[in-house]
Assembly symmetry: D2
Amino acid sequence: MSGSTFGNMFKITTWGESHGAGIGVVVDGCPAGLALGETDIQAYLDRRKPGASRYTTQRKESDSVEILSGIFEGRTTGTPISMLVRNTSQKSSDYSEIASYYRPGHADYTFDQKYGFRDYRGGGRSSGRETIGRVAAGAIAAKLLAELGIQVTAYTQAIGPIGIPDPECPLAVMDIEEARSNPTGMPDKETSLKAEAYLRQCMENLDSAGGIVACRVSNMPAGIGEPVFEKLDANLAKAILSIGAVKAFEIGDGVRVSSANGSANNDSFRMKDKEVTKATNHAGGILGGISDGSEILLRAHFKPTPSIFQRQDTVNKNGEDITVQIKGRHDPIIVPRAVVVVEAMTALTVLDMLLQNMTARVDRIRQFYSKIE
Amino acid sequence: MSGSTFGNMFKITTWGESHGAGIGVVVDGCPAGLALGETDIQAYLDRRKPGASRYTTQRKESDSVEILSGIFEGRTTGTPISMLVRNTSQKSSDYSEIASYYRPGHADYTFDQKYGFRDYRGGGRSSGRETIGRVAAGAIAAKLLAELGIQVTAYTQAIGPIGIPDPECPLAVMDIEEARSNPTGMPDKETSLKAEAYLRQCMENLDSAGGIVACRVSNMPAGIGEPVFEKLDANLAKAILSIGAVKAFEIGDGVRVSSANGSANNDSFRMKDKEVTKATNHAGGILGGISDGSEILLRAHFKPTPSIFQRQDTVNKNGEDITVQIKGRHDPIIVPRAVVVVEAMTALTVLDMLLQNMTARVDRIRQFYSKIE
Amino acid sequence: MSGSTFGNMFKITTWGESHGAGIGVVVDGCPAGLALGETDIQAYLDRRKPGASRYTTQRKESDSVEILSGIFEGRTTGTPISMLVRNTSQKSSDYSEIASYYRPGHADYTFDQKYGFRDYRGGGRSSGRETIGRVAAGAIAAKLLAELGIQVTAYTQAIGPIGIPDPECPLAVMDIEEARSNPTGMPDKETSLKAEAYLRQCMENLDSAGGIVACRVSNMPAGIGEPVFEKLDANLAKAILSIGAVKAFEIGDGVRVSSANGSANNDSFRMKDKEVTKATNHAGGILGGISDGSEILLRAHFKPTPSIFQRQDTVNKNGEDITVQIKGRHDPIIVPRAVVVVEAMTALTVLDMLLQNMTARVDRIRQFYSKIE
Amino acid sequence: MSGSTFGNMFKITTWGESHGAGIGVVVDGCPAGLALGETDIQAYLDRRKPGASRYTTQRKESDSVEILSGIFEGRTTGTPISMLVRNTSQKSSDYSEIASYYRPGHADYTFDQKYGFRDYRGGGRSSGRETIGRVAAGAIAAKLLAELGIQVTAYTQAIGPIGIPDPECPLAVMDIEEARSNPTGMPDKETSLKAEAYLRQCMENLDSAGGIVACRVSNMPAGIGEPVFEKLDANLAKAILSIGAVKAFEIGDGVRVSSANGSANNDSFRMKDKEVTKATNHAGGILGGISDGSEILLRAHFKPTPSIFQRQDTVNKNGEDITVQIKGRHDPIIVPRAVVVVEAMTALTVLDMLLQNMTARVDRIRQFYSKIE
């Protein structure tokens, strides 16, 4: 079975392993006429690059993107956009030992069970480098959404037990520039410093930390999403859970709704400037799987990096209990570099459903085609 | 866009509105040779039937299923299985008033925004009755999984703030018979009684409650799920979020991983009876999107029923702020009747990915076809 | 694997066997706001009804359609439209003998090889009755296309060696009313009478005849179809070959292009009334997989009805060579009743690709959404 | 809409334009464990390379393939196989003139209508170079089919009016080595020489020729293909019509069935060596959309190369009637280089449906998974 394709109208297919020749993505279904160049893509890729701080791996990866097709005279042509990032910094020798055993918390064992063997170098296809294709494609989706006036913004909400104050506050009052410049991705300087201290402690303990990435979609039109299996939130959940290390997804109030009462959880509708608005947004911008015109708010819970430097119990390929100590360069936390991945997957999902929604009404289809002829 | 189809190899398409002629589902891709009759389906449908207790709507709906195709001499033929449940108890008169305004927490407003108008009778397509098709199809998936030795079991973990003790304990020590017979769906009599008291209080307050449904997949083989976008947990997340009123999804430790350390979150591998096993199961049975052979554990967080009998603020179709008081018969909680829906969606997802996995290895394909010829 | 779904945006799923409870289809993705009722559907179904002439089976089948969902106050709601035609005239006793052997030219043997057994009553799922679902869905597609000014018209071009004169002439000069009223479906009375004489001869010989159905799409906008695998003609080919008994598909000049020269086969472009037009239409309205604004012309070649009353050699389920003589009521030719099926499949394909095309350009998407907000 | 992906289980996504950086394909869903290297792919690509004879363009294109992912230690890993062929010989200056007008028989006009503008260099995405991705992927499919004992063999049946004698004879008595070595692709030396003479005449006339490619699938197991919309022949028809310049598709007797009688067209079943066989093969190996175990035989009708050197009428982008004379290097016939493309698309389709068929029966699924655990 094939499982490297995401989306329906705006469809991406990623490929590549940590230590193969490169990583890439084909974007099929990008509408024609979007101004696009490699710098648009590179700006997003740079946000997930390692080496930016002491909390990310010190590997040097330039991760320069080459657009191989689908652009002519600076604009998308409507045909597939193929993008390639060559792997340059990988040394297979670092990984020879782990071929013989299964690292706890990694996909080594499950890959062997599924495929009979695995590319054990650097995690192969299940490496974090796999997200390069997602981010490159997400950059295009985000640019197209921006053309429609829609913004997607992700940031770190928590690192381990350290969370930002007032995580439900409007995006407008958050300091997103701060989030983009500090090493944690948090939109609050003080919390970020606390989180850094926590991470340093984890590193001293030869341990790692988890965290929460939040993402908002602003200026979202109402009516996007399909009412049954292709609910907007269902597709967002799949998009987010498809990112390695995510173990939980929340929309709006998320897990808190299970202990809430209806009187507190329902959002009242109110007229404001002749528009229907909601007095609160417990729903996170989605009702019945369809956007309601208010801000979409989702959260992804990332587990701690499974590669820790403490001794761990595991088994080897000969079926023997052993104890191992993982070496190499590993981020003590996944979250800061995952912020842009969450943003990319959210943008891809929202755009795809915006495109799918164009066929919802006969009157609009008639209007669309009456103008063409 | 079409959005009423779920699955790839085992594909279901549901249809029907609350107050139309009926509700149904077409199951396409069910393998040939499964013994199947209407009683297999009815047993599952009866688990979601209303009227079973004072905490579910007192509407009388027999919800009798008719199998219209795909069965011959008591076995599935490999061709589509069409199932129909006629609507019998609906009175459109009950719903005439709500045509004029948007109920808070419901999809009335978003349907109007998307489609230009809506079938306002009983929620139309966004009614809870839509899940009848899911449950009917899920009954077939569960029966087929049982043929492969796999069990899917859902139950209520919490109702409002009242949760069962030790929710992570092995399924084997839970009292699932208790869960099937009491009105809450909880596998613990004492907690169930407390939850009932809580629900009675909610009803007195003209309010409603949320809750948590947990689901386990037992005896799951390792190697199921695809490593990137079609991760087993990503598809489960989509399946579960596609159920109305679900606002969060957790696999394994779920939201707790974001505050955990790697040393605590990693599951060690250990040999046991010459099999690779895990000492713990924080991962919930899935590593890198692929089943690891241990029990799968997921959780769905349901919001409180949005139809409450308190006065609520909203707007009407003329764009005026109004106050409304919803009438009719509504469950004070969705969870007890949703247990079987979670079970159905989980079974459908797991089966679909088991079928997809059959093409993962050349050696197994060769063996498969060498036997046929 | 599931294979009973056709289309991407306008998606249909058919189900049902010849002698089961009924035949049906779910149309998912029909845009909201189309005026639609059962009479719209019945008009198409009546065109494929048997018993209309001595050249079609004398079985009495009322084939009355019931719409079960997706319509509210006379208009489509955007949610799935489920349609059901109950089987009423089937007598299983007629078919008990053929359970034991494989009819030449039928799918009996291949079904047994695929599924291990088969519903042998009346051909089961491979019966011509399977097309009821296609025609019911096609009626909706045709109505929606008509709203966009597009007409799909099929007719019989040839029956056995008897073909209409000038099959390439413009549709406008053809007598389609004649085609709709005579028993052959030919738009030419004289040829139709000759074809009837030929069919009577076939029946006297206990034999059957093949034929050609042609189909035109008029007023088609340019730009529809995708340039690589989802070419408009590729999808039409699949749609037409998916009809039982079709063994060849032609677009435009079809098989004649292989013996033609480029100078004769190329269609010159010329300006006419300030529009780009083509001086000829050898291409059949499609260039590079994309509609060019001229009439689409395709042809389907149907094999003779495999059920003939002559003695035939075959094998039985015990693996013995036998000779059989098929009984029952069978059309001596498939073509006249297949005309509406070709029309339906063409309409479904063209509509689906019209909907898919709406996302081709950024400027049009921006315009579409700027109007909504 | 995206349209550059083909297949369901064995899924390929092609990308690239004639004059962009390169052409490529991502194969997703290739089973793990297939021995594969670049030489396997290159052998197929070399069969479509230009410059091999005076009847193909004299452009020098090395078309060397690089495998970028999905292979480890000489075997497929089950993850996506990305392949890249750099464009090396393209000079954009050759094509600057055609930017201003629409070449007859080409997709220039339809691309402009669809996308608003086009990459006019060498046909852009609608160039014959687009088939490089298909052939590279088809090489993998063919190798995997060979592992299952299945061979796919295409050859030229006719060039213009010159056809091989006895085109229905068994593949075994055809001289496929001759077909692989002569410039026409015909499995008959004498006919090939006649065809070459015909092509020289066309070139003198500044004209081009069409032709027929035939393809056989040998040792095909019975039971492959789905009975309704996903018929094996329907998918083959789509695959073949998706190749540029194909205007007709035939399976088995193809267009001849429409003038045949049932008594002549039906294939009798007979026992032979305790196997069910067919006395004849008018059906081309497929009954009811499902393979019957006999050889599959299909034909593709290619139109003449639209680029001819005679003066032609057309219009320019300013909407003026003009006369043009196309320059450059163009094959006088598409067919010889298209043989391997037909073979590739057939292999891809057959393999995909073989994989899909693995889920057809409960007993086989049970057996499959009982062995795994």
